[in-house]
């Protein structure tokens, strides 16, 4: 698309897009490190994730602040307006993803011990890899305004839901085997739920990308959600 006659308007839009991607980078990093801390019981790493949430919140504040200023000053229309509203929505989703990472880090402090059953570790790691892959793809789709890629992210959410459901069953089994597992397994169940939610937020962002580029809602996926 051609540049705006007012160059400062382009600078504003570039700033906003860069802020979204910067938030995306931080959110990805927080989740990866939180899960790593969880699996290895690395309390120091967990603490650093908790601290980083403030940075992410600060980025969202900068994003919203500039977006509101641009709306007030330049009265954006059509695709520009969708870009700005979309960026604010993505900022919300990314901030929530950061919160999920922080929550996993907090539970790491509570659990205090490495996760043992190899199958469980593998399951959680796989769930995390899938969620982070979804997030990476959706941020790529945003950076390149790639509708096809965004729509693919929207369709791929099922795999995460399936793994989450199998982890849920597995954790139930451990709890039934020995009631002393209940505390840790409940924490892990919440962690798994958090990671599954990250996938949902990645899907939200992908839907926002479709809306930003086309002006139309992303095709909705019919079917029931798992627990």
């Amino acid at each position: 698309m051609a540049d705006h006659t007012v160059t400062a308007f382009d600078d504003d839009l570039k700033f906003i897009a860069a802020k979204v991607l910067e938030m995306g980078g931080h959110a990805e990093d927080m989740v990866a490190r939180a899960v790593s801390a969880l699996l290895k019981a690395d309390i120091a790493l967990a603490q650093s994730v908790i601290a980083e949430d403030l940075v992410l919140d600060g980025l969202q504040y900068e994003l919203d602040d500039r977006a509101i200023l641009v709306i007030a000053k330049r009265q954006p229309m059509a695709s520009d307006l969708r870009d700005i509203i979309g960026a604010m929505r993505m900022g919300n989703d990314l901030e929530r993803i950061g919160d999920m990472g922080k929550n996993i880090a907090k539970r790491t402090r509570e659990i205090k011990e490495p996760i043992h059953p190899r199958k469980l570790v593998g399951g959680l790691q796989h769930l995390t890899d899938l969620a982070l892959e979804q997030l990476k793809e959706t941020l790529d789709a945003y950076a390149n305004r790639d509708v096809a890629k965004a729509e693919k992210v929207c369709r791929n959410d099922d795999a995460i839901d399936q793994i989450y459901t199998s982890l849920f069953r597995e954790l139930l089994t451990y709890m039934m085997e020995d009631p002393r597992n209940i505390t840790v397994c409940t924490h892990l169940l919440f962690c798994a739920k958090n990671i599954e939610r990250i996938g949902d937020h990645a899907t939200n962002i992908a839907e926002t990308v479709v809306f930003m580029v086309t002006g139309k809602a992303a095709p909705s996926k019919h079917g029931t959600r798992s627990l």
Binding site: D3, T5, F9, R74, M77, A78, K216
Partner: protein, 284 residues
């Protein structure tokens, strides 16, 4: 299948059973649905230079249609075709066909003075007559013979000023010159003058470009109210104003009508890339 056939039969017999009143009502509805103004293949030349090319545009009744586009795109030229203001410009030729309620306004039998009473106009710069506030509004109805007594004329003046949202501000100074009013008040006086002769269509050529934001808001509010009784066509350079006051928007570029559609769509998701570039400030 049986169901469908049955309902068709019911429908057909319903038309046969319609009362004369119902037929009148249906006819009224059909008239209301037809466009107030229809432009077909309108082309305008100023001497050798062509300013408009093959413009086809329907203007719906009781709606505000905004004409937008960069300077020199032909939007004001098109506006002036609707009440034949272009007739006054030497060397200007209008081709194609413009009808109002199905009647060709360029037909030689059309009385241009009468046409301009039916199609009022408000200009960019407020241009009250160098007369009193009262006379500014009373002049049109008087020369058009719309009143038979002073009381009736008073009534038209008061009603027009009220509809233009100006009466309360000027009721105690009707004898003062129109030019003594503020810019925003002068523009509303011009609108009162335009509606005093009970036109069907009001053309507005950048009516707010010389006004401050408060006066602009008052005129925009007025446009929204006037829509109930008039068909309004407005040329504006303010995208926000077009988005706020109109229901339909037509985008002109280099003498061509390049896109027309519901205002909500034009300003959120235009189809044409030049419309998109223009409304988002990327033009040229």
């Amino acid at each position: 299948m049986t169901m469908a056939r049955d309902s068709n039969q019911t429908e057909a017999s319903a038309v046969n059973d319609m009362t004369p009143q119902a037929i009148d009502a249906a006819a009224d509805a059909a008239v209301k649905a037809a466009p107030k103004i229809r432009a077909e293949k309108v082309a305008v030349h100023y001497g050798a230079k062509q300013a408009l090319f093959d413009v086809d545009l329907d203007i719906r009744r009781n709606q505000v249609t905004a004409l937008i586009g960069p300077s020199g795109c032909g939007k004001s030229t098109f506006l002036r075709c609707i009440n034949r203001m272009n007739d006054t410009i030497a060397g200007c030729r209008v081709g194609g066909r413009i009808t109002i309620d199905g009647v060709d306004i360029y037909d030689p039998k059309i009385d241009v003075v009468e046409l301009r009473a039916r199609v009022g106009m408000v200009f960019q710069k407020p241009n009250p007559f160098p007369k009193s506030i009262y006379e500014n509004v009373a002049y049109g109805p008087r020369i058009n013979g719309l009143s038979s007594s002073r009381a009736e004329l008073d009534d038209i003046v008061v009603t027009s000023l009220k509809r233009a949202g100006l009466f309360e501000e000027v009721k105690d100074r009707m004898g003062e010159p129109g030019t003594s009013l503020s810019g925003g008040q002068q523009q509303r006086l011009c609108i009162a003058r335009a509606i005093a002769v009970s036109p069907e269509v009001i053309l507005m050529d950048e009516p707010c470009s010389a006004l401050d934001p408060i006066a602009t808001a008052k005129v925009e509010d007025l446009i929204d109210e006037l829509r109930e009784n008039f068909t309004i066509v407005i040329v504006t350079h303010s995208m926000q104003q077009a988005a706020r006051v109109s229901q339909r928007t037509a985008m002109f570029h280099l003498g061509y009508l390049i896109e027309v559609g519901d205002t909500d769509t034009i300003f959120t998701n235009p189809t044409n890339s030049r419309t998109r570039d223009y409304i988002t400030g990327r033009f040229g």
